[in-house]
Symmetry: C4
Subunit: 276 residues, 4 copies
């Protein structure tokens, strides 16, 4: 009986792609709840919200947290079905350390902390921001981000390298611009941090224009850095392009392996040769 | 006689690539009319246009709408020739629901509404904007956008995924920047919406600079988001690059399949191997 | 004797890649002269240049124009050697209509016009700008731009299509933003032209920030257009990427065809298969 | 004995990828030292650093320079082991002319110069900036930048060509915008240099907005240049994308050549054909 109930609950809340009717109903409910929660966080930033609305928002928050808490507990309870090769307690511990479980707990904990500990306003606000992690829960119910994640994971070493190069360039550029512009604009390029803000805006081609060099040598430096900024965009773009091309080619190959009975003529997309 | 006339009219207005002399004359006339219409919409935004010019513009508008209306009616009339597998009324209904037919009706309707219904100035202005849809009518007479449309359609699922990722990132970034900068600039980062405007300008690397963070933590957040903005550009670029490469390779393969008699040596562009 | 002299002159000034000693000396002299000319145009924009320097600059200009004129005349004289399949006068006429010959004449003509015709200051200034065309003369002596030109030429139809799409988007965006923002900022979004300037800065992600929407609906429109701007960058980037990949693969194939004796093992860079 | 010691020292400091325990300990120490040095340069730009801290910083600087000097001398001493095909003195001279050795000496020399020569404050500051070259020393201990460097080296000719095209475009654009906008904004577009700063910000899509054209013809020019700016980003991006795709394909081919015993089925990622 217990095992049957657990299996039933697991089938409802499982998120490993094996879909069934109840499962997708459950997923949709959680998705709607997440979207409502995010909308509330957005609405709360607007001024002049009447007291009544605030009360309603609070009750929605309470209900959401209860549902998310129950969801979290059920996921722990059914963890042994997710990791069948492990004993109960171990499977649960393992589940609690997964990325999605950590997101789940961080997304509800901030609600409980003020009841348990005395917190000041500053910390309370920080805690409230953690509610935004609820957006990440969406990841469980949508397959939309899988391909992008795959490409980024596959190209991670090169992307990290290019990020490292960006970082070195940022530090160099910010120190150079600071030392070059400090005499002309001591209030604007106050320290290396101001330089970093400018270097970032230039290298990423955002170019806010709140800080710009005014001396001839500073502008010359700015020209060099902006041109490097184009390269900076080009490197990760090249890495990600190459990744997408590879992943798409692999997926095509897999698909064609699966459907060999399909006897229409196929041609190598590169050499135009017929492919048996 | 009726059938012959309808066939003749259909041959003049058909837009399915089967070109003939009258057809291309008709297409050119409509294209010129569309361009005149768009130019008029542009010119009308300038101040100090003399009353006489306004009168001329109005008559051009009237003539254009009459021509477009006749065109629309003729297309409905000849719909059974476009969908020969359907009966008359059904074919016409089907045609009226096609994308281009909807564009056609939306581009002329705003002219007639004020005669039929009492509308206030606000709605009238909105209706006038619908005239811009006439630009979309051009699509029927030019093949220029076909390749781009093909690539985008083929990569649509990945592009939508990356748009979804962008959207999540935008919401997260706008709420974070609002909560971080609100104390320092309560008038600038008023609510989540101001944060969104900043996050958009930063993630897309537009960087207007009308709103920028001033606190150290806000600038740090800005740096992270701007760097993610580079990735944001890289992902759709990678997707579209991969799409163009695939489409171009397929077109090449198709072309070579069509012209097998051409006996010049060909080489696989990737391995340099001769290809039979 | 005449033919021998003409052949000698032609060998000195020919620009078809068949290099020899005199030819490269001549090319270097012209290149240096071009660079000096461009530097002069730049320097002349600075204020406070002493009268003496201006006089020197004028004499450099005179000498340059004389040399460029002689070069132009010699190129016309030797044209029959460039197009040996044509008779003298015809070959010369054909040469005068080539792109580089038109550049040559436009780069020197502005110097002579004021002597022949009375011109006002405005036209004189315009004419002086034509001197910048001398930069284009460099193209004859450097192979650096050939690969880029090849890729762009090969992808021209797609690039023009994407430019057409950009143009439609620009017109639509500028009219929309004008009609949305006009009431709130009648001085800033004065007419369609102001809207165009904003739409351009947003779609290309330049984002000067001199004109930005302030209404909620205008900012929403701005967000959509900025996101489309990312796509706008992605499309030509994808087209050009695909072009470079193709051109590079073809060059590799050609090179390997030329050097078949080289017996090191080669592998298809895509399937890892050994290639005979 | 001398030879054994030298061999031992060489094994500790070698940076050619042949790693051993002592070697990686040494590398880590130098890396930490470099990071501390860079952090110090950053911190020193902030105001209000107490005198005590400045003294501590100075001692850290002294210790760092001593260690870097010893490292440099040891590298020269062990150079004959790095270039075994050369005699002692020649090998040392050759080493001293390598890129990394020049970086090493430039990163420590600024510390010694003020002791040897009388320098004024301006030169002293410049010299201090050379300390930033210590960041480049990191390159020796991290493999992160190798792939990026390989791709950039391989595509160097094309990248230089596109940089040349950028440069020509920059010069043309800056002179054009100057001559067009000078009458309307003589203080803003003062000379060719101001034009260059604007042209750079526009072509790279940075768009600070500190200088923008105000005349209709200037804005039209700006639109053209901004659209070319998109192309400008597209060309190096295309070049680097193509490079990454090639390098990655070659690495894959090499890896598969090395591991031929692995008998899982493999498929050409382009044609889906099984590959032996």
């Amino acid at each position: 009986m217990y095992k049957k109930l657990r299996q039933f609950v697991y089938n409802v809340i499982r998120d490993d792609g094996e879909e069934n009717r109840l499962n997708s109903v459950f997923g949709t409910i959680i998705m709607v709840l997440i979207i409502i929660n995010v909308l509330l966080v957005i609405i709360e930033t607007f001024k002049g919200i009447p007291e009544l609305a605030r009360t309603v928002f609070y009750y929605i928050e309470v209900v959401s947290v209860i549902i998310f808490t129950v969801e979290y507990l059920l996921r722990i309870w059914t963890a042994p079905l997710k990791f069948p090769e492990m004993k109960g307690a171990l499977a649960r511990l393992k589940y609690m350390r997964t990325f999605m479980a950590v997101i789940d707990i961080l997304a509800i904990l901030p609600f409980y902390i003020p009841f348990a500990l005395p917190v000041n306003l500053m910390i309370l606000r920080m805690l409230r921001l953690l509610r935004l992690l609820r957006i990440m829960k969406m990841n469980r119910y949508t397959g939309a981000l899988v391909l992008i994640k795959n490409v980024i994971t596959r190209q991670a070493p090169q992307l990290i390298s290019s990020l490292f190069a960006v970082f070195l360039l940022l530090v160099l550029a910010s120190l150079l611009v600071h030392s070059v512009e400090y005499d002309a604009q001591p209030d604007v390029f106050e320290n290396a941090f101001s330089g970093l803000w400018w270097a970032m805006a230039t290298l990423t081609t955002v170019g806010y224009g709140d800080i710009t060099p005014v001396t001839a040598i500073g502008k010359f430096l700015g020209t060099i850095i902006a041109l490097l900024g184009i390269g900076l965009v080009a490197v990760p773009t090249g890495i990600i392009s190459a990744g997408f091309i590879e992943v798409m080619a692999e997926e095509k190959a897999k698909k064609e392996e699966k459907e060999p009975e399909q006897e229409t003529k196929r041609f190598c997309s590169y050499c135009g040769k017929e492919v048996g």
